[in-house]
């Protein structure tokens, strides 16, 4: 009963502990600060070189120009933006519905067994290097499209975008599935209790309740598509081209050069003027601003979503 365990003496503070605790704090702070510092420096350097460019090229000309030809010192963003826009839209058309459908299946319909096969499968899809997707687009998708009678060029935006779409499906499906599986089961019960079918519960209760999560997965996937480089470099060709609004379908079959691909080309060109080189930073900054805004939007939506259940 009376085995005396020594009671800690509350007045004896081990020497050096305070210093140690302080050190931990600063080491951790340093790591956190380093990553922010790197990000900030990148943005600052990007902006600095972009500003150099904009002192020589009128920003209005840059953002409204319909031709991009470094060899003639013509720097219009719109053709590059056309390519980026096409990739984003086509891949979204492919990935968003498929990704959500896959997420619905995984979250609401799949048996545990099925899920344990499909989820790792999707993760593998997410792990394939994008250059492989690009080559696949060029070597398999384009010939396939030609075989089914579509008049696609060897390099065309459609094949590239299809592969970008396939690449971002796992992103949509896994984030959307997270959102759907975090919908409380009591809501499903409420739906079934009202005499809803499984499909009605899924579409009328689960998906709306997870809408913000699904939507923010869309935005993240879109910014991924916008920033995708390798696939379009390999498969979409290297000709900046304006969107042809009078024949929208024809656009799909031609090659385009999205912003990312143009940057790669400028960077790896043998001889490029100083101005041509700095245009890289102007394009890069624009790209950064677009994806940054999208991320901001998605955080906003995700935050509102969390609020809903608290």
């Amino acid at each position: 009963m009376s085995t005396e365990t020594p009671r800690p003496d509350i007045t004896s503070r081990p020497t050096g502990r305070a210093a140690r605790e302080r050190m931990y704090r600063y080491v951790l702070l340093l790591c956190a600060a380093a990553s922010i510092l790197v990000t900030v420096s990148i943005v600052v350097l990007l902006a600095r070189d972009a500003i150099t460019f904009f002192t020589l090229v009128n920003p209005v000309d840059f953002f409204t120009g319909t031709e991009f030809l470094i060899s003639r010192n013509v720097y219009g963003l719109l053709p590059l933006l056309s390519g980026t826009l096409l990739v984003t839209v086509i891949s979204a058309v492919i990935a968003l519905p498929t990704g959500v459908a896959a997420a619905v299946y995984l979250s609401e319909y799949a048996s545990d067994q099925m899920r344990s096969v499909l989820k790792p499968g999707l993760e593998i899809l997410a792990g394939i290097p994008t250059v492989v997707y690009g080559i696949f687009a060029l070597v398999y998708v384009t010939p396939f499209l030609q075989a089914i009678g579509l008049p696609v060029n060897t390099f065309n935006i459609l094949s590239a975008s299809i592969m970008v779409g396939i690449m971002i499906i796992p992103m949509v499906s896994s984030l959307s599935e997270d959102a759907m599986s975090s919908v409380p089961d009591s809501l499903r019960q409420a739906g079934y209790g009202m005499g809803a079918t499984k499909f009605e519960v899924t579409t009328g209760v689960v998906v709306p309740a997870a809408a913000s999560g699904i939507f923010s997965s869309f935005i993240l996937a879109l910014s991924r598509a916008i920033g995708e480089t390798m696939i379009v470099v390999v498969a979409a060709g290297s000709r900046p081209r304006m969107l042809n609004l009078s024949d929208p379908l024809a656009n799909l079959f031609q090659g385009y050069q999205p912003m990312t691909a143009a940057m790669v080309q400028i960077n790896s060109a043998d001889s490029v003027s100083q101005l041509g080189f700095t245009s890289l930073f102007a394009i890069g900054l624009t790209l950064f601003v677009i994806t940054f805004l999208l991320n901001l939007l998605s955080n906003r939506i995700a935050a509102r979503y969390r609020e809903e259940y608290e």
Binding site: L187, Q189, M194, K198, G204, E308
Partner: protein, 299 residues
């Protein structure tokens, strides 16, 4: 989920245990009841007023290997409040979920025996659980409004039943019957999640009654609420019994005594020990075990 995994035994010949089964009150070609069966016999437990609308006969429920309900025979009278009391884990919720076949959603659950709703065995192969649940509404222990507007919550059942006419009117009526209208009439577009717990629970009741079911099942509907919200719900339940058959599970003995006409006492092991008029159960139960339970000697 397996809607059809349920065993429905003896589906063709229900055991006649009831008073003449209610002729279907809904003449509009009800999908649930495809044949109406006249069954005869008198049930001792049927009260003076209500004829039985739900009857179980030798109902057994298993979760995997373990049996949660042991051969339950129970007849629930129409348009009255029937309370189910008993210690935790004795199978009250399980019984409730048998009535509208919510047990179908639990993979491990298996039901044997018969449960009649208006004379029709709900475990017959030709019964559609979806249609059944449209006639037998449910209110859960924790308020579970959809993260939609107040209006859309109440309209939900109408919409999935493709009832597109007079939705405004029906929503208003349901909210009034649930004693919530005055509090929310100016903010029907507001999210249901912004309501207080008690208001949310009344909203869930409104949602359940909006489709005009015959029976409302309530599983401890006030257990998550404070005393004032609870007494509102209790008043409401007594009123609802004028139009609906109400079956309520509760842990609160005073509540059962206050609001119910009939009380079923389940005890550990999933046995129905006594079922009678509430007054009888609380004043002079036949079973010593029930008396012990009610007076707090165990459970």
């Amino acid at each position: 989920m397996t809607e059809n995994e349920m065993t429905s035994n003896d589906s063709t010949e229900p055991t006649p245990t009831t008073e003449t089964a209610a002729s279907s009150p809904d003449p509009s070609g009800d999908p649930l009841i495809e044949q109406s069966i006249d069954v005869e016999g008198t049930d001792a437990t049927a009260g003076e007023t209500g004829k039985p609308v739900i009857e179980s006969s030798d109902l057994n429920v298993f979760y995997g290997e373990t049996q949660a309900l042991q051969s339950i025979d129970l007849a629930i009278p129409e348009k009255q409040v029937t309370a189910m009391i008993g210690p935790s884990g004795c199978g009250k919720s399980t019984f409730l979920r048998c009535i509208n076949r919510m047990n179908d959603l639990i993979d491990a659950a298996r039901v044997e025996g018969d449960l009649y709703f208006e004379g029709k065995n709900v475990y017959d192969a030709d019964v559609d659980p979806v249609a059944l649940r449209r006639r037998i509404g449910m209110v859960f222990q924790h308020p579970n409004p959809f993260p939609k507007s107040i209006y859309d919550n109440v309209a939900y059942g109408l919409r999935i039943q493709d009832q597109t006419e007079n939705i405004d009117e029906k929503v208003e009526t349901a909210l009034k019957r649930a004693a919530l209208w005055d509090e929310v009439k100016d903010q029907l577009d507001k999210s249901a999640l912004d309501l207080s717990g008690g208001q949310q629970q009344r909203l869930c009741i409104a949602r359940a009654i909006a489709v005009d079911p015959d029976v409302i099942l309530m599983d401890e509907p006030a257990s998550a609420l404070d005393p004032i919200a609870t007494s509102k719900i209790e008043d409401l339940i007594e009123e609802l019994a004028e139009e609906f058959t109400v079956v309520i599970v509760t842990h609160n003995m005073q509540q059962a005594a206050r609001i119910s006409d009939k009380t079923a006492v389940f005890l550990t092991g999933g046995e129905l020990v006594e079922f009678d008029d509430t007054d009888k159960i609380f004043e002079n139960p036949d079973s010593q075990r029930v008396e012990d339970y009610i007076t707090g000697k165990f459970g």
